[in-house]
C-alpha cells in the first residue's frame, strides 16, 4: 500500500495541560481510518493538528515523507482537506459558492474562481449525486445536505488526504449511513486517505479499515478494524461494560451491558 501520511510522536498541550501524548500512526492511500474516543479525549485536537490548524508542541507530521512543519498553509491545503464539524451560519452563500471556495489553495491571492473552478465544483457535487443543491442557500438546507456540501468542497480541493471531524454529527439515522457510504466509495475509487474522528464505534466497525482508539490523550490501541474492534477494547475505551452482538460472521454490533439488561 502507498503510504501518504505519517504522524510521529505528536504531542499537543494547551495552557500547560497535555491534550495529546506521543501519538504515532500511518495512513495509506485508499484506506479509511477512524479515530475513536470519549468526549474530550482529544479526537478533534488530533484532526486539527494534522493539517496545522493547531501547532503541536513536539512531533512530526509527514506527507510523502516530507515534514509539513516547513510547508506554508497553502501548501498544506493542497495536500489535506478538512470537512469541519461546525455548521455556523455564515452569509447566505449559494451551495456552489461554498464548494468553489475549495479551489482557494490553487488560486493566486488576488484571483477569483473562474469557469474552470466552477466546473470542478459542479463535478464534485455530481460525484455525490447532489447537483440539485447547487443553487440553494447554504443556510437553508438540511444538516445532511450541508455535510454533503462540505464534503464536495473537500473534493473540489482535490487533495489525497481528507480529514473529517465527526462527519455524522447532526445527521438522521439514514443520512449517517448514506454519507459514510459515499465517503467510503470516494476513498476506494479515488485512492483517498481518509482520517475521520467518529462518535459511534458501530459506524467505525462498519466503514473503517483501521481504527485508532484515543483515551486521555494517549493511543490506547490501534490496528485493523477486525483486530481492534473487540468487546474488551470498546469497554475500556468508553469506561463501560459492553457486549458484542454478532449480526453475521463478519459484522458485529456493540451495546453497553446496562442497556442490554434493561431490555
Amino acid at each position: 500500500m502507498d503510504l501518504i501520511l505519517e504522524c510521529r510522536s505528536l504531542c499537543f498541550a494547551y495552557n500547560g495541560d497535555n491534550i495529546l501524548n506521543d501519538i504515532s500512526f500511518k495512513a495509506e492511500a485508499g484506506s479509511f481510518c477512524a479515530v475513536l474516543g470519549r468526549n474530550g479525549s482529544g479526537k478533534t485536537t488530533l484532526i486539527h493538528c494534522l493539517n496545522k490548524i493547531l501547532t503541536p508542541v513536539s512531533g512530526q507530521i509527514l506527507i510523502h515523507d516530507k515534514d509539513i512543519a516547513s510547508f506554508s498553509r497553502n501548501d498544506i491545503a493542497r495536500e489535506i482537506s478538512l470537512v469541519p464539524q461546525e455548521h455556523l451560519d455564515i452569509f447566505p452563500y449559494k451551495v456552489i459558492d461554498v464548494i468553489v471556495m475549495g479551489r482557494a489553495p490553487f488560486l493566486k491571492i488576488a484571483a477569483s474562481p473562474d469557469e474552470n473552478d466552477y466546473e470542478i465544483a459542479v463535478n464534485a457535487l455530481k460525484e455525490l449525486n447532489a447537483e440539485n443543491l447547487a443553487e440553494k442557500n447554504f443556510n437553508r438546507i438540511s444538516g445532511g445536505e450541508r455535510q454533503i456540501t462540505l464534503l464536495a468542497r473537500a473534493l473540489a480541493q482535490a487533495t489525497k488526504i481528507m480529514l473529517l471531524d465527526e462527519p455524522t454529527n447532526h445527521l438522521d439515522f439514514n443520512n449517517q449511513y448514506h454519507l459514510l457510504s459515499s465517503i467510503k466509495n470516494l476513498c476506494r475509487s479515488k485512492g483517498l486517505s481518509i482520517i475521520a474522528s467518529m462518535h459511534d464505534p458501530n459506524m467505525a466497525a462498519i466503514f473503517a479499515d483501521d481504527v485508532i482508539m484515543i483515551k486521555d490523550g494517549n493511543i490506547m490501541v490501534q490496528g485493523s478494524t477486525e483486530s481492534v474492534m473487540i468487546q474488551k477494547n470498546i469497554s475500556k475505551l468508553y469506561d463501560t461494560d459492553t457486549s458484542e452482538i454478532n449480526i453475521n460472521t463478519t459484522k458485529k454490533f456493540f451495546l453497553p451491558n446496562y442497556i442490554i439488561k434493561d431490555c
Binding site: 490548524i53 498553509r73 452563500y93
Partner: protein, 341 residues
C-alpha cells in the same frame, strides 16, 4: 431563491446614478449655480480666462467649497461602506460597523481634545483625531493579541473595552470644557458634517480611500473564505490572523481619515453593505464594488440634502441616521429567513 441583479448591470446603473447625482449636487445648494454657469466656469478655467462679478463669487463657491465637498462625500461614503463590509466579513456578524474596534471613539476623543485646546487650529484637530483613532484600534488589537484565545470574539470584546474607555475620556473632556466655546463645537463635530472640507482633506482622504478600496477589491475572494471562520479559512490554505491585521489596518486608516475630517457619520458602514448584499448576494467579488458605489452615492445625496434643505445647514449625521434606521429595518424584514439575520 431570489434572483439577484446581474452585478455588471447594477455597477453601470450605479455609476450613471453617481454621475447624475454629482451634477445635481453641483448645481444645488444655498448659492444658486446653474448648469450653464458651471459650463462657462469650466470653459473659463480651461482657457485661463477670469470670471467677472457675480460669476467670480460663484466660481469661488463652486471650486473651493462645493466641488471638494461633493468629492469628499463620495470618498467618505465609499470608505465607510466598504470598511463596514470588510468588518462584517471578518467578524462574521451583521451588526458590526467599522466603529467596533473603537476607531470612531478614538477619533472623536482626539478631535474633542483638539477643539478644547486654547489655540484653535483645524489642522491640529484633524491630526489629533486621526492619531487617536489609530491609537484606539491599536489598543484593541494589542489587547486581543495578549489574551490570544478565540481571536474574533476577544477582538470584539477588546474593542468594547477600548471604545468605552475613550467614550469615558470624551465625557470627562465635555464635562470640563467651556460650555460657550468648546462644548458646542465638540457636540456639532460629533454629529458629523462635511462643511469646511478643503482640497487638502480631499487629497489625504483620496489616498487612503483609493488604497483601501483597491486592496479590498483585490482580496475580494479571500473575504468569502475569511467569513467562514478561522478553522475553515486555515484548512483552505489561508492565514486568517495575517489577513485580519492587513484588513483592519486598511479599514482603520480609511475610517480614521473620514472621521478626522467629517466627524461621526453613522449608519453608512452598517446599512450599505446590507443593501448591497440584498441586491447582488453575499459574494464579495460582487458586493464590494457595489458597496463602494452605493456608499459614495448615499453620502453624496445625504450631504446635498443636509446643505440644501434649509437656510442653516443640518449635520449630515442626522440625515444618515434618520434615513438609515428605517432602511435597516426594512432590510431586516426583507432578508428574514435567509439564515443570517
Amino acid at each position: 431563491m431570489k434572483l439577484f441583479f446581474t452585478s455588471k448591470g447594477l455597477i453601470y446603473l450605479l455609476s450613471a446614478a453617481l454621475i447624475v447625482a454629482f451634477i445635481v449636487a453641483g448645481i444645488s445648494g444655498r448659492v444658486n449655480i446653474s448648469f450653464s454657469e458651471i459650463f462657462t466656469m469650466l470653459l473659463n478655467f480651461y482657457y485661463g480666462l477670469e470670471s467677472k462679478g457675480e460669476l467670480l463669487s460663484k466660481e469661488l463657491v463652486f471650486f473651493w467649497i462645493r466641488l471638494p465637498r461633493c468629492v469628499m462625500a463620495i470618498l467618505v461614503g465609499s470608505s465607510l461602506a466598504v470598511s463596514g463590509a470588510v468588518y462584517q466579513a471578518l467578524f462574521r456578524n451583521p451588526l458590526v460597523s467599522p466603529n467596533i474596534l473603537g476607531v470612531s471613539a478614538g477619533c472623536t476623543f482626539g478631535a474633542a481634545l483638539g477643539l478644547a485646546l486654547p489655540f484653535q487650529s483645524f489642522a491640529l484637530v484633524h491630526v489629533m483625531s486621526f492619531m487617536f483613532g489609530i491609537l484606539a484600534v491599536s489598543m484593541s488589537v494589542s489587547l486581543a493579541k495578549v489574551i490570544a484565545i478565540k481571536p474574533v470574539i476577544v477582538l470584539v470584546l477588546a474593542g468594547m473595552v477600548v471604545l468605552s474607555f475613550f467614550n469615558a475620556l470624551l465625557m470627562i473632556l465635555k464635562y470640563f470644557s467651556d460650555p460657550f466655546e468648546a462644548l458646542p463645537s465638540i457636540i456639532f463635530w460629533v454629529m458629523g458634517s462635511l462643511s469646511r472640507v478643503t482640497w487638502d482633506n480631499v487629497l489625504v482622504m483620496g489616498i487612503f480611500a483609493l488604497i483601501g478600496i483597491i486592496l479590498f477589491i483585490t482580496l475580494r475572494f479571500r473575504l468569502n473564505i475569511l467569513s467562514l471562520g478561522d478553522i475553515q479559512a486555515k484548512s483552505l490554505g489561508m492565514d486568517p490572523s495575517v489577513f485580519r491585521i492587513i484588513l483592519i489596518t486598511a479599514s482603520s486608516f480609511m475610517v480614521a481619515a473620514s472621521v478626522a475630517t467629517c466627524g461621526q457619520i453613522s449608519w453608512i458602514g452598517l446599512i450599505i453593505p446590507h443593501m448591497a448584499r440584498t441586491l447582488v448576494g453575499p459574494k464579495h467579488e460582487r458586493m464590494i464594488p457595489v458597496t463602494a458605489l452605493m456608499g459614495g452615492l448615499f453620502l453624496l445625496i445625504a450631504d446635498s440634502v443636509a446643505r440644501s434643505i434649509s437656510s442653516a445647514e443640518i449635520p449630515v449625521g442626522i440625515i444618515t441616521a434618520l434615513t438609515g434606521a428605517p432602511i435597516f429595518g426594512y432590510l431586516m424584514f426583507k432578508n428574514r429567513g435567509s439564515g443570517w439575520i
